[in-house]
């Protein structure tokens, strides 16, 4: 039953990612990326990461993708489809390079010991447990992450401001 859900959701994720990469319309690509993100959140739920799945939907699909859609509509990418490439063989070389990367990754993955998960060792990632780890063991990265978000916010506003003449 879990395997069936994994298969279906994994297939949806791969198809959605392929449509992002090959679609003509930028707004459609953003919506397909939202489908990809939500299907990955379902996979996180299957793998016992409940808090991370909720954060993925709220932050990634809910905030980051909305930001993407703002900029897609601002830059007029929705109206103008992409023209032909400047380098004629770019697409073919990219696909070949991607296939080489995939072969390498599969070779590394199948190297060993990645069969079924040993039972009885899993802890579900509830907010209480994750919070305990983040606020005690990873407190310094947590503070640095909040500083990073502040810097990013200030930087984004400074970069995108209209310059007054």
């Amino acid at each position: 039953m879990e395997a069936a859900v994994f298969l279906v959701v994994g297939l949806v994720a791969v198809i959605a990612a392929a449509m992002v990469v090959t679609g003509r319309n930028a707004v459609h690509a953003a919506l397909f990326l939202i489908i990809n993100i939500v299907s990955l959140a379902i996979l996180f739920l299957l793998l016992g990461a409940e808090f991370v799945a909720a954060i993925q939907i709220v932050v990634y699909a809910g905030a980051i993708m909305v930001l993407f859609l703002y900029v897609v509509m601002f830059s007029g990418a929705a109206a103008t489809p992409e023209g032909p490439d400047r380098l004629a063989w770019q697409r073919r070389i990219a696909v070949v390079a991607g296939l080489m990367l995939l072969v390498l990754a599969v070779k590394v993955i199948s190297h060993g010991g990645l069969g079924p998960v040993p039972a009885g060792k899993q802890v579900a990632g509830s907010p209480a447990v994750i919070g305990e780890i983040v606020f005690t063991q990873y407190a310094l990265p947590f503070e640095i992450a909040s500083l990073l978000l502040l810097v990013a916010m200030v930087g984004a506003i400074a970069l995108a401001k209209e310059k007054k003449e």
């Binding site: 016992g48 900029v71 990013a152």
Partner: protein
């Protein structure tokens, strides 16, 4: 609880998604779409983090995913504001047209 998904399958899916992201990153010409392919790659890595967290019974992988999502959000904010500034100046987001520094 039913038997969990073998880790190899999750890693294989993560590798496929990462490769799709790489091909899109190399191929697309709209800068915003290139950014979306970066997000696909980050999501693939998040999936492999969670798969390993599941396998090793430790939650460090999930904390790592939290930080990856945070950094991705900051990166998207700054990167998209750069694209907005670029669009204001050059009226295009086509990466092939942004070639003032080409030799």
């Amino acid at each position: 609880m039913m038997e969990a998904i073998p880790t190899g399958y999750c890693l294989f899916l993560s590798a496929i998604l990462f490769t799709i992201g790489v091909v899109g990153f190399l191929t697309r010409r709209n800068a915003v779409l290139v950014f979306m392919c970066i997000e696909i790659m980050l999501n693939a890595v998040n999936l492999s983090f969670i798969a390993f967290a599941r396998r090793l019974g430790s939650l460090d992988g999930q904390v790592a995913v939290l930080f990856v999502i945070t950094v991705a959000a900051a990166e998207v904010a700054v990167g998209l504001s750069i694209i907005v500034a670029l669009f204001r100046k050059r009226k295009t987001v086509d990466v092939d047209q942004i070639d003032l520094m080409k030799w």
